[in-house]
Symmetry: C2
Subunit: 456 residues, 2 copies
């Protein structure tokens, strides 16, 4: 076990220190910041505006941290953590350090889509069959997977790279990798208005095997799937190697149109700064796809014109008589996409709006309310602001008593150093009676759908 | 917004770099390593044995990383991330940067129990009501909570410290913190044999509020709970400040007995090295509690004596005629606790054992099989080894055809740098016919219970 020498202590620590000191003055960081300024200006933003003036730095930090895998080495991680472990003493069979499948299930990771540069979530299941009377520390399976996740990836490439690296690093009888990947489904500004149902995530399962797992029909795969099946994974929905189609929603929109060349050049310089080759086949169209998507959030000074849509102006005063709470109406689960102005990463979820109507009728109809949500969503935003803007605008046609709840998953909370995969943010705006009457709020809040599955 | 100056860039980065370079030669690290050697020797271990010879270093690294919060400052995190944000323009109500509740839900954290030094898991929900036309970056709520989680804590102290720090750091109208905490339920060696049902976790909910949340009956708490209720939290099971009782299972075992003083002194020196005061009231008994628990895993060279328990020796040869698969029997969900020898942290879960019996009868009864599991669990272990040892031992009385599946949650995968909260490890041992017959394995694996909830 020559690999267990002291020198590996340092390597292991270096792999954990995800961030170099002095990072903020490194050329790569400065190049990314400049590129982000070009992108912000392309959206029509004032790059000195409070709220986004530090965005170039934040984006550079997030991107470099999120792609640190380019600088990490598998051997540094694995070699310090191979432990001698006996196999069976006599008898026929496999266990311990010789044979005997080992699986670590449900490792949460995130990666960056090489097709559109957005982060995607990964539920990773990885296993191997030990040989040579040695086993690897369980956490190393996670750390090795993370090295390759922290690069620009597709699910199949990621599965293959993790598998190959573990096979070379541990030299076991075989390695199996199953990845359940979730990519945000991001409609563009126009399609969101046309199809509000396309909410949520694009999901795909990618698998890779080496050694005894090389044959996808091998019996050992049957054992592996058996131990995964109670965690919601079955072989039926596994993505097969042969399907060459990209899963990224950006590719199903057809070829990107003519994009602003200053902006695509800026994205190209970001790719180079991360250590990628912008001429790699899968990356050639990435800058234009990214810019096309990013332009959905261009700044607009247009006021939303609503009067033409309002069928009949309702009396926006609170009712003087009768029971206010009997007239509480709601529009729930309005779909919602936006872009975090601090990190230039999407946040997405649902909006619930409560209002008062003595006849129980929405005077303008749900589609107009949904349009208001999209109008304020498709900008560089913070969730608190979009909540307020929606409340202010709908109060002009749904009355002065308004409650708005926005529930969103923030990509910036799953990627970057924070990595809080299951987190979800709720914001509140209350106008008129809803701001003073807790009973009215409670009545509306009780009508909210289960948010545990919202947007997942 | 003077707080938005460039100087805060550095502070923010320093807070993310969780690990100092040169850490391995610092006096605190060396003191912890020496203390861990004393603890290992107290268990009767050979500290030069492959597998544990680097354990003192790993434990020092994990402990110092897991308690790095003692060195982090809230203001460094918060002040760089306060953003100007308008409130409502005219009209009555609250939204945006003035009023309008903001909640981040389901943040996964871990902390260390001040009573027994084991890590515990936290599902953190934190919110505030903005004031002064400014909001804080959402991720900072998580980062501030993490500063206090990365210390020795009790749930209530943790909730109070996070709440107070955010109130001082953001100066909002109010802050609310709700923590759902899960502590491993760790029976000692003797009680595990007596009561195999006490599996799983001790759960508690702690809350803390400041400003408008100071009164636990305030209406704004009702709003807060409404937005949590679909995530499995209700006010009914909330832990109230008044209940002074400790939740830690180590405290319900009564006062610790006479512990090895070299070992308790070693734990005292660890507490000091982490930056704690061992004379703090809550910590005074911690070293003896830790040592008492730790001694459950003392090395024993005793062979397990089984013959006296075996009611009738069965024929251990595989059946020559008939259908082997018709005789597959199983003992499922045998409870299981052990201690990871790499990190001195518990891992815990269930063991499933399959065997062949032509008459469908377990010749020795479930209690003896459960005893074998405990016998091998209560040692310093790795999961691959304990799986093999259980298989080898049960084959002496359940026959030569054996399959063992161990499913476990490893505390070392949720604490330390790895923080994979939902991960779960499965290991396999197959003897005799089960090693060669995939149909027999499949038949047994199909009988396994849903592992998604095992041990949770």
């Amino acid at each position: 076990m020559g690999a267990l020498d002291e020198g590996h202590y340092h390597a292991e620590i270096d792999n954990e220190v995800s961030f170099e000191l002095g990072f903020e003055t490194q050329p790569e960081t400065l190049v990314i910041q400049d590129a982000v300024r070009v992108l912000l200006q392309g959206l029509g933003e004032d790059i000195n505006r409070e709220g986004i003036k530090k965005t170039p730095f934040r984006v550079a930090k997030a991107l470099r941290q999120g792609t640190r895998g380019y600088k990490q080495k598998v051997n540094d991680i694995v070699h310090g953590a191979l432990f001698p472990e006996a196999g069976l003493e006599g008898g026929s069979g496999q266990a311990g350090g010789v044979g005997g499948l080992v699986i670590v299930r449900d490792l949460d990771l995130f990666s960056y889509c090489e097709s559109c540069l957005l982060p995607f979530q990964v539920k990773c299941h990885v296993g191997y069959v030990p040989s040579g009377k040695r086993v690897v520390g369980l956490s190393k399976l996670s750390r090795v997977a993370d090295i390759f996740a922290k690069r620009l990836q597709s699910p199949q490439r990621l599965a293959d790279e993790v598998c190959t690296a573990l096979q070379h690093g541990i030299k076991p009888t075989g390695v199996a990798v199953v990845l359940q990947c979730m990519h945000i489904h991001f409609p563009n500004f126009e399609s969101a208005f046309l199809d509000s149902t396309s909410q949520g995530w694009v999901k795909i399962t990618a698998t890779s095997g080496s050694g005894v797992f090389e044959d996808g029909n091998a019996d050992v795969w049957t054992d592996f799937w058996s131990l995964l099946k109670f965690r919601g994974i079955s072989i039926d929905n596994a993505h097969r190697r042969s399907s060459g189609q990209s899963w990224c929603p950006s590719q199903s929109c057809g070829m990107p149109g003519q994009a602003n060349s200053a902006m695509t050049n800026a994205v190209n310089s970001i790719l180079k700064s991360l250590g990628e080759d912008p001429l790699r086949e899968e990356l050639v169209e990435t800058p234009s796809r990214f810019v096309k998507w990013f332009m959905n959030f261009r700044n607009s000074n247009l006021e939303m014109k609503l009067n033409g849509f309002v069928r009949s102006r309702i009396d926006t005063r609170s009712p003087q008589g009768g029971n206010f709470n009997d007239g509480i109406c709601s529009e729930l689960n309005l779909s919602f996409w936006s872009q975090c102005e601090h990190h230039l990463l999407p946040f997405q979820g649902v909006v619930h709006i409560g209002y008062h109507s003595s006849d129980g009728v929405n005077p303008v109809g749900r589609p107009l309310v949904q349009s208001v949500v999209h109008f304020y969503g498709f900008k560089l935003q913070v969730q608190e602001r979009v909540t307020r803007q929606i409340a202010e605008t709908v109060s002009s046609f749904l009355g002065e008593d308004i409650i708005v709840v926005v529930e969103a998953n923030h990509t910036c909370m799953i990627s970057r150093g924070i990595e809080k995969f299951g987190s979800n943010t709720a914001t509140f705006a209350v106008l008129g009676r809803f701001s003073t009457d807790p009973v009215a709020r409670a009545k509306f809040l009780q009508s909210l759908p289960d948010s545990g599955s919202a947007g997942r």
